[in-house]
Amino acid sequence: MIRVQDLAKHFKVHKRPPGLVSAMRSLVRRTYETVKAVDGVSFTIERGERVGFLGPNGAGKTTTLKVLSGLLHPSTGTVDVEGFTPHKRETRFLEAITLVMGQKSQLIWDLPPAETYAMNRAIFDVPVAKFDQTLDELTQLLDLGPLLQKPTRQLSLGERMKCELAAALLHGPTTLFLDEPTIGLDVAMQVAVRDFVRDYNQRHESTVLLTSHYMDDVVELCPRIIVIDHGRIIHDGDLRGLIKQMDPDKRVSFTTTDTEPDFSKLGTVMKRDGQRFTLRVAEAEIPAVVGQLLGPLKVVDLAIEDPPLEDVLRDMFGKAKPP
């Protein structure tokens, strides 16, 4: 259970123009600029939910995750994760959560992952039997068998990520914060990580909060999506709701044999690829348009779809400006 109320995180950034003179001057008087990384965010996540955080670079996703995991103090607002205040970093809180950062590694570079695991067992004081059981389970789910005894520096990026996930889960946390866990991975590995997270969440009823650049991760994995931009939440709900809210129109695609086709009367032409067209049509007009297309216009391969998430988001982030 995560409860966030009016969370804001402002950074004071020390501004210094380049050059020797200004370097000297800044020793005496510093000029600061306030950056509002997170600016009034509230949400509640129930136990066992999988929630995806979406937003462009610098939207405040990582900052929010860092506040939730206790790495950053909130500037204002209250945060409650499983009954704890994160930034106090109490032992029981740290035992209940985990944070995986796709771009940062906790594995010991020169040694096999098994050594990092042994260290984490000591740090988190996990009983041996429990540790062995968890490690067995993770080894099976992530297919770690051949990797455990190889030095980390010899692992591929994908293999390392799998070992990273295991290292983060050995103490059996109930809340998982995943910051870009699939960054840089190839598609097959992305799918493997995704499947693992879903499996793990269902087996242990753990709460998962995930950020990712890859829409597919979020769409596939998270029934609930929170979109954040310029430090504010601009959507919180399921995927369909998000798409409906942002772009209620449908996409109608078809192939025509007409040599000089003109479909502009029926809807906005979104895309044309040879004889294949995609129109944007309001939901209410769908029956009429489809009737026209299949009847007099004789098109084939007709498909009606929701707008692609990527387009919706691009529109959304293009539109949303800071107040």
Partner: protein, 261 residues
Amino acid sequence: MRYLRLIGVQLRISAASGMAYRSDFLLEGFGTIAWMFMTLLPLMVLFDGVEQLEGWDRGSALIVMAYFMGVRAVLVGLVSPSLTELTERIRTGAFDYVLLKPVDAQALISASRFEPWKFLELVGALVLVVYAFYSKGTVPGGGDVVLGAVLFVVGVVAMYALWIACAASAFWVVRLDNLQYLLSAIFDTARWPVQVFQGVWRAVFTFVIPVAVMTTYPAMALLGRLDAQTALATVGGSLALLVVSRIIWQIAIRNYTSASS
């Protein structure tokens, strides 16, 4: 209990880490022995020409040297590698993972790396103490041995505190290695009895950067020459340094968690 087990695991892992590069490992071993020789050489040359210097004869100066080697063994075997590791983790962002562990970050970092070979110097230091007393033809009193041992720990604590305080600055200026070189260069003076330095230097080495606390006073204790007042001041000064360094560390962490991005 948790901490004890942790130290055990880290010892094992560091040893394994050290052996990951075999050629380095052997070189380190050879280097450590060569270094001990080099440490002794100037002293040998010096006392080849003079009988005594500011009240220190060859045997007594060897004891200061032994304390220096002992404190240095802990420094280069444990403290310095761990703090280099700290800078590395801050630079790569992996320090976040340290803060997320349910153990004290300073404790976790302070023991994050050992270099097993360097502890050979501890053995060298012990041998040197025995040899020094043998060459002087005296035997230290029981009480002096106890006080000398206690003050060795006190000296190590002072050194550790100084390095932690310096490492905390890694949160502001990310390149710590240079600062560490500077500190090491100053620490190097601890191999000589502080009395051989004159005027300002002696004051600096006693009060500002208390290398005297790390080696000279403990050595005097073992030789039975330290008065109770200085002994107490040594213990007090070292503990004060430890407290101050802990405060600096906590400020640094608070700063890190409220300002980093």
